[in-house]
């Protein structure tokens, strides 16, 4: 079985769990919406300010919500010894990492589709000029975020008392995603976002590769 096929199996399992527990719809989405409302209230009702801040608020909401989803993705693994089953299954370690990351990425992309609509409605984000650039920024940013989160979600879940630590680990590492994602989103409304997309791609390559290399060490127990 190829690595990709194994990863697809792991991702399928995770997505099935997510679908059946409705975690995304029941917790993730309301949380992201709450954040957006809170951002709006903290900035005041001025249309110009909100419009200018919209790309950053979009990515902040995605970033904070993603941290919740990483905790959830591994929370179900540490219950009832599910992780041991996963480790004992004839799967490559790198494939487990890719599968977990892919499932989280898929879930986040669905979330982002709704968050985008909310940001357009609430803050007047303009996405007209180059929607493809925006879509590329979201996909690339989500992949990098999922790679970081899948690495540290496991650490925090295995420790069983580290939930508060996950944002401290993920958010500083994800600074390039916040910066490049925000800039690419803003650029998509006016001109090209090319170089920012390149930066996101570099981040993805670095963290997916690093994750595949080191993830196995986290599973050795």
């Amino acid at each position: 079985m190829t690595t990709i096929r194994q990863a697809a199996l792991v991702a399928g399992k995770d997505l099935r769990i997510q679908f059946r527990t409705r975690f995304g719809a029941a917790a993730l989405l309301p949380f992201a919406a709450t954040l957006l409302i809170a951002f709006g209230l903290s900035l005041g009702p001025g249309r110009a300010l909100l419009r200018e801040a919209a790309p950053g608020l979009l990515w902040l909401a995605v970033l904070f919500a993603s941290v919740l989803s990483f905790g959830q993705a591994y929370g179900s693994e540490v219950e009832d010894g599910a992780l041991e089953g996963l480790v004992l299954a004839p799967l490559e370690r790198a494939a487990i990492f890719l599968g977990k990351a892919a499932a989280v990425a898929a879930e986040l992309l669905l979330l982002e589709a709704v968050v985008i609509a909310l940001v357009v409605a609430l803050f007047g984000l303009s996405i007209g000029a180059r929607p493809l650039d925006l879509a590329a920024a979201l996909v690339l940013g989500t992949v990098g975020l999922a790679a970081v989160g899948s690495l540290f979600g496991l650490v925090v879940a295995a420790a069983r008392r580290g939930e508060a630590l996950l944002p401290l680990l993920v958010l500083p590492l994800a600074v390039p995603i916040l910066v490049a994602g925000t800039r690419a989103t803003a650029a998509a409304a006016s001109g090209g976002a090319g170089s920012w997309l390149g930066l996101l791609l570099a981040f993805d390559a670095a963290f997916v590769a690093a994750g595949m290399l080191v993830f196995g060490f986290l599973l050795e127990d």
């Binding site: 650490v155 401290l168 958010l171 500083p172 910066v179 930066l199 981040f203 080191v214 986290l218 050795e220």
Partner: protein, 260 residues
């Protein structure tokens, strides 16, 4: 006698540690004289520019310390020898200390010269993010009581965190170039007087010696910690403490002094 006391009795300073300490102290004293009395005040900034002689060395050491964490983390994952983990942990603590000092000293320098405590300059912002990443590293070390687990988790953070640094720097640099802000003053202007450069080099060397000395001390504390756990566990498990040390085979732990 407690397990900690027994462990301390068996872990003695390695040869050269004391000499390193004196060398660091002498170099720091020389550096203080040079930077406070010998080097001239800056033509534009005056006396406050002397902060350069502590700010630049702490910044250099912050990055050096995290590079050591990176290398030691890789070495740990490859060899599983706990000495690499102790090195990574010791260097990370010093790196956090020097990063915090860098930001603090830079802030004190920026206030009179740039008129602000903080500016979103790429180097400043990268350094702040660096501090947060390694605070996370230290927090991960407190997550679990199992030493091999702690070492493996920390090594992963130590590797991934260091890979992130150039990407963070690049992203903040590009981000900054879009917002044309106040131009950041170059250190001491475009060229630097030879005496100032010499003073700076002495300061960098002195701080590096201090880092090495502190590292040696922290490594010794790390060995005591590991030994203490082994001593405390050994009667309960019924095996000699030596067998419980990760590096039992080959670690140069000093032989126990007779009669204690």
């Amino acid at each position: 006698m407690s397990a900690a006391e027994r462990a301390m009795g068996r872990i003695v300073a390695r040869p050269g540690e004391r000499a390193l300490g004196w060398a660091a102290a002498a170099a720091l004293a020389a550096s203080a004289v040079l930077s406070l009395a010998v080097a001239p005040p800056d033509a534009q900034q005056g006396q406050v520019q002397r902060l350069m002689y502590v700010h630049v060395p702490t910044a250099w050491l912050a990055y050096l310390a995290f590079a050591v964490v990176f290398v030691a983390s890789i070495a740990y994952l490859r060899t599983k020898r706990s000495r690499w983990d102790r090195l990574a942990a010791a260097s990370a603590e010093l790196g956090v200390l020097f990063t915090a000092l860098t930001i603090l000293l830079g802030s004190l320098w920026a206030r009179p010269v740039w008129g602000t405590w903080w500016t979103w300059d790429p180097r400043l912002t990268t350094t702040a993010v660096l501090l947060l990443i390694y605070l996370g590293y230290l927090a991960v070390r407190r997550l679990t009581d199992s030493p091999p687990r702690r070492a493996r988790w920390a090594a992963v953070v130590g590797i991934v965190g260091f890979i992130d640094v150039p990407i963070v720097h690049l992203s903040v640099q590009w981000w900054r170039s879009l917002h044309q802000g106040p131009t950041v003053a170059r250190l001491g202007g475009p060229t630097i007087a030879p005496v100032m450069l010499a003073t700076l080099l002495v300061a960098v060397a002195a701080f590096t010696l201090a880092y090495l000395y502190l590292l040696a001390l922290r490594l010794r504390v790390g060995r005591v910690e590991e030994r203490t756990v082994a001593e405390a566990l050994s009667p309960r498990i019924g095996r000699p403490a030596e067998d419980l040390l990760d590096d039992a085979a080959g670690a140069p732990v000093e032989p126990a002094p007779r009669g204690r």
